[in-house]
Symmetry: C2
Subunit: 438 residues, 2 copies
Amino acid sequence: MASKKTALKSAKKSPAKMPVKKNAFYAQSGGVTAVINVSACGVIETARKHSNKIGKVYAGNNGIIGALREELIDTSKESASAIAALRYTPAGAFGSCRYKLKSFEENRAAYERLIEVFKAHNIGYFFYNGGGDSADTCLKISQLSETMGYPIQAIHVPKTVDNDLPLTDNCPGFGSVAKYVAVSTKEASLDVASMCETSTKVFILEVMGRHAGWIAAAGALAQESDGDAPHIIIFPEIAFDKEKFLARVKEVVRKNGYCVIVASEGAQYADGTFLADAGTTDAFGHKQLGGVAPTLATMIKHELGYKYHWALADYLQRAARHIASKTDVEQAYAVGKKAVEYALQGKNAVMPAIIRKKGARYSWTIEEVPLSKVANVEKFMPRNFISPDGYQITKACRNYLQPLIQGEDYPPYKNGVPVHGKFKKVMAPKKLKTEFKI
Amino acid sequence: MASKKTALKSAKKSPAKMPVKKNAFYAQSGGVTAVINVSACGVIETARKHSNKIGKVYAGNNGIIGALREELIDTSKESASAIAALRYTPAGAFGSCRYKLKSFEENRAAYERLIEVFKAHNIGYFFYNGGGDSADTCLKISQLSETMGYPIQAIHVPKTVDNDLPLTDNCPGFGSVAKYVAVSTKEASLDVASMCETSTKVFILEVMGRHAGWIAAAGALAQESDGDAPHIIIFPEIAFDKEKFLARVKEVVRKNGYCVIVASEGAQYADGTFLADAGTTDAFGHKQLGGVAPTLATMIKHELGYKYHWALADYLQRAARHIASKTDVEQAYAVGKKAVEYALQGKNAVMPAIIRKKGARYSWTIEEVPLSKVANVEKFMPRNFISPDGYQITKACRNYLQPLIQGEDYPPYKNGVPVHGKFKKVMAPKKLKTEFKI
């Protein structure tokens, strides 16, 4: 209703001077998270509030390949309540993809195709919701005006469970995985503690993080006091030393009766070999990526003889909207909202970053950072976030992580399970006659 | 306070005739659950309300072996708020064990020891919180009066995530695992659906249930409509047919773009071989229990070539108090409470069972059943609860399962993680001079 009124008012004033409103394109990129749709919600709701300046928001069907294929989901066909439901719906409501645009030089055809699609649908704003690789793509799009003469404003909306984007204090999506890992570790540790007298003595939880140990580090948030489970955290940043590890497990079991380990999937030996590749051979004789947890479990069983259990959270951890961090949800919304506001302010090639304010009590704000400084830079855990022995986090790390899992933001439930949004996903009619091969 | 007053009042009336109040022994047995402590809470709070008739409640340290070792936790030393915290603390607060008492004939010494300990601590009530094996132990204890002349009332408090106890409509502990599996499957399915265009096409979640498919069946509660994920459920009750399974996976992926599978750890071939044993060989050349999920994943990869992901929930599923079923929590409390009431009514060798009332709207009550009919009987999924093709549940099964996951019962949170009870676990002073070897 607001949009109609505004349009009418403007029309009365100076119909001839009305600039043609540009539409927006929004896409989800790479691995999804519990809150990437919250950012989508922030983008779409904010754009709707400024419907006098921004036309439709088209969402790429399965991410950027939706643009290349001219598969544009017309989000204006979704009701306000459907868009609101994005807030509590995990994963990518419009579909995501793992597809990295190559350089202009290597794949000029793809960029020409994008411009063709954007032109056909009057798209002047590009919102790309992703991690490091996506920031690079978004940067390339932001340069289309210079390089190929097509005027577009590209804003990157940060998202990654890996928490490895630079300049932003943390990445939307990470806080919720961190909370899932902390909660699950705390609960499972009580289980092992109850049973260790006559049964399982070692429990291993394998978590995501191929390159950085942020997610594994979050396991430490299960601890209330020193010595609490998890007793050992395996970080990809610390070279795995089998003898030292086994000695520690033995020591912990002797002292506590049981040992809880949180291991990053990226755990590796000093020579860079992943523990997950250390290798089992399946029934067909093929080498199999065994996973870190079973590799560690086998080691413990054979060398120390302890009964073990292990869990592999896999997608469960990054889809767990039911236990999302309220802080994460709020930040995911804020970066989506801010991205649209930046676009309205005429900005290009920027990313809304989460900035931690100074002070004893955690608070944050959003500030713009140049995309050129975000793309292709990975933020690893600083060494001073990991204890000298390599198995725990430091106080500095705890101070950093703690606020990110703060607060609960429960979805509504029906029939005992969370309610998730239903989307019509009406495709905008195609205007181009050509197809594009992905 | 109430107990002191009552004692005083009685003392005034007829001090000489006052029967000596008997103490109670409570123990947790076998694999723990998200709500076994809720039953402990029901037992202890109810006993405290009847402190004129029941003395102290001693909890076995690590279950029944706590009785054999005369390691009795004096729960009267725990504050009312600590006992109340049992309601939202998963796993076994007093420790559990996997220890089955043999028959009188085989191990008379153990029974004599129990009587010795019970006598020394004036124990007249025995509450045993466990599954099928424990029901058998509880039955043997209930017969101590007849067989060995020691007067004791033994009441079994049902608990098992496996949901395989007879006579009770369902088992406390199961509803919460079922809810965890349904919620996790629903969330992870959205993740796979978002990514399948360019990435993972098959996702497998392996869940508990070595003998019965109840937990795997709960995965189906993620479905809102026919055809929703999970597309395939692997039950231990249905002989696994590799060709048929692969054909179904292929068909589902062709139709939906992705396929979600919930597999019971007890999945087996027609000859009874477990898929989990089908076997991988680790780096040391040892045969390894591979798990059902990786076995299925490898099969799919090699025969169909799809990219896969899999998760193994393991202890996470049965410790997940953060997403416990409210119905389950209420029933777990009710059976604990009722067990004490039965004891006060002079009953022996019974179990409070959950009875589903007739009517369209789910409601339940607790009724006593004879322990002799519970011990050593396993309840499997009836064949009419599994679809004719063996991959889904029927409407009858859905009607049965649905109410058991109904409602949420969130624990309190602090610092972003659930608060769990802290227990002093003060041991009652030992009165016996002998020790008992377990």
